[in-house]
Symmetry: C2
Subunit: 383 residues, 2 copies
Amino acid sequence: MSNIELIDDNNLKCRFAIFKNANLKLASGEVLKNFKLAFNTFGTLNENKSNAILICHALTGDQYVTGNNPITGKDGWWARMVGPDKPIDTNKFFVICSNVLGGCAGSTGPKEKNDSGQDIYGADFPSVTIQDMVNAQSKLLDALKIDQLCSVVGGSMGAMQALQWSIDFPDKIKSVIHIAGALKHSAQNIAFHEVGRQAIMNDLNWHKGNYASNNSIPERGLAVARMIAHITYLSEDAMHRKFGRRLQSRDIISFGFDADFQIESYLRHQGRSFVERFDANSYLYLTRAMDYFDHSESFKKTLEFINNSNEHLKYLVISFTSDWLFPTRENKEIVEILNSLSKNVSFLEIETDKGHDSFLLDEPDLDFAIKGFLESNYRNEYE
Amino acid sequence: MSNIELIDDNNLKCRFAIFKNANLKLASGEVLKNFKLAFNTFGTLNENKSNAILICHALTGDQYVTGNNPITGKDGWWARMVGPDKPIDTNKFFVICSNVLGGCAGSTGPKEKNDSGQDIYGADFPSVTIQDMVNAQSKLLDALKIDQLCSVVGGSMGAMQALQWSIDFPDKIKSVIHIAGALKHSAQNIAFHEVGRQAIMNDLNWHKGNYASNNSIPERGLAVARMIAHITYLSEDAMHRKFGRRLQSRDIISFGFDADFQIESYLRHQGRSFVERFDANSYLYLTRAMDYFDHSESFKKTLEFINNSNEHLKYLVISFTSDWLFPTRENKEIVEILNSLSKNVSFLEIETDKGHDSFLLDEPDLDFAIKGFLESNYRNEYE
């Protein structure tokens, strides 16, 4: 008999949903007997529980979507998008964001203790998929006694989760905002992830994933993985504009291997600061979950099948012109399938040179589209 | 008094030019007192020494441009381009190719013994630039008593050397074949190199570059560096065509961190096989030389200045549509400057999905262009 406990953690400034005897069956066939999700909510749930929005975070995100993140001491990762009078307005909507299964900000993942309560999972943690993450989130909604979300929103890995929601739980959502995602992870994206994983697993401090019991951290490998990924989050134009060949704190090249160029110094900083806040094994598990994501064959068939169950499901699909990880053509594949099924879908390609990271940055067109979509569709929900 | 010795090495199947008391002044200001270049020649120098072509190799190339490479046991890196009746026809031309200064196939570099003859240079090797490589090559030509090359040819880092030849020694060459290069290394290219270097320098077996005296090899870091670089040598389309999301030796995903996908298996193989033939420190020095390459401000001025000294210098500039390391627009910057100075320049953009690596692969248009350029310009030289 499953048993769900909701607790507040004042130190971590978040809440926990603890599922005991939950028997969460994973896509791999393995079963998590017990698991917990760390989450936060913002705004107020209205009386008929119709103003709830679930925000799904990207690869390195967490439940601290807005407000202060106590781990980094900085603003949440989407503070510019979510909050009172922000595009996702917490005066109107009740926003939920949970750390994904397999993550490292409190939810059950390789960094946490296993069922025995004695040992850290490490590399013994089972493989998780986007579907598993969404399945766990749906149990969180059950625990919060919310039957239907007015929207599920996400960019990048968050977009994958949002799409998965519309496949697995179409009755539990009224709309999907899918930003900079795809039906599948491409060969090139798998390649970049694989090199990052190799950097981590080749670090002698990784100890086959059981670094916690060896009192070591594969931080050098994790920093390299982050540096690789960071290049892919920017566009070449943005990198040229921001850094070009400008030198860092020097007038002439050093003829050595210090960070002569600003871009080198920037990447080293990105690597260093990442290892302070992220777990190397989580990086392996979550990149793998993204690699495994593939609805290129099944999406159309699945949606035909569920067509009748939720006729009014609305989609907003957004892409960025300079995003080379999830380019417009891959986002459009989703739109084309939805169009072919006469689904309700809006598509917006935003002109920007900021690359994949645009969804996290100052893009007024993005704000306008999200705010407009939510407020025109759900005016009655929050009024 | 400098003293040059030319010797044959039957084991390594190459020749060596050994420069004693040469005092090669490097761009950094440091001086190499003694140095050696490993090189090979193919074909026969004609009587008036007018049929010599210098081929400059790319980052991981060597003097084994064609024929058998005794280190790998395989064909030379440009065997399809160079040889009897090949586009660069050794029945007609005398082809010279030397391992670059800083390389690891016999020429003086971090892997070789320093002036004392006792210790390996390691990280004490001075920084080298493309200009230094070309300067050393010109001394090799002097040793071979060749006053003028009918062409200097190179792709990628080889293109940088070919361009540098036309700047530093315009009187010593009649033409330049510049393939997939640029006036400068871009911010994104520096970024990818930097991550590769960090992977090597973060390997605990690197020992600040002095791994030889520690009896270790930073092969894990070097493999990761090679994997990163290899992604950039391909195009996304070619990767999709060759690998897509196809699985490697299995029917279903493993829910683990083995190489499930063919692209993962391919990259791991590229990493593993590279460490058998390349030195990690050389990788640091040569990537740095490429990063430092920048004629974006100086090229036009320099060529105006040398305009009179070699009016008949001809250029052929070739780019590939799917090359995102050295895209057409960057190759064209060179063409535009040459055109503005009324220099003799031909430009060809080749339509292909094979990415930067196209210059090494089966591209009939490339063969045709190189053969045509050489043979129409130098018919009299080899007849």
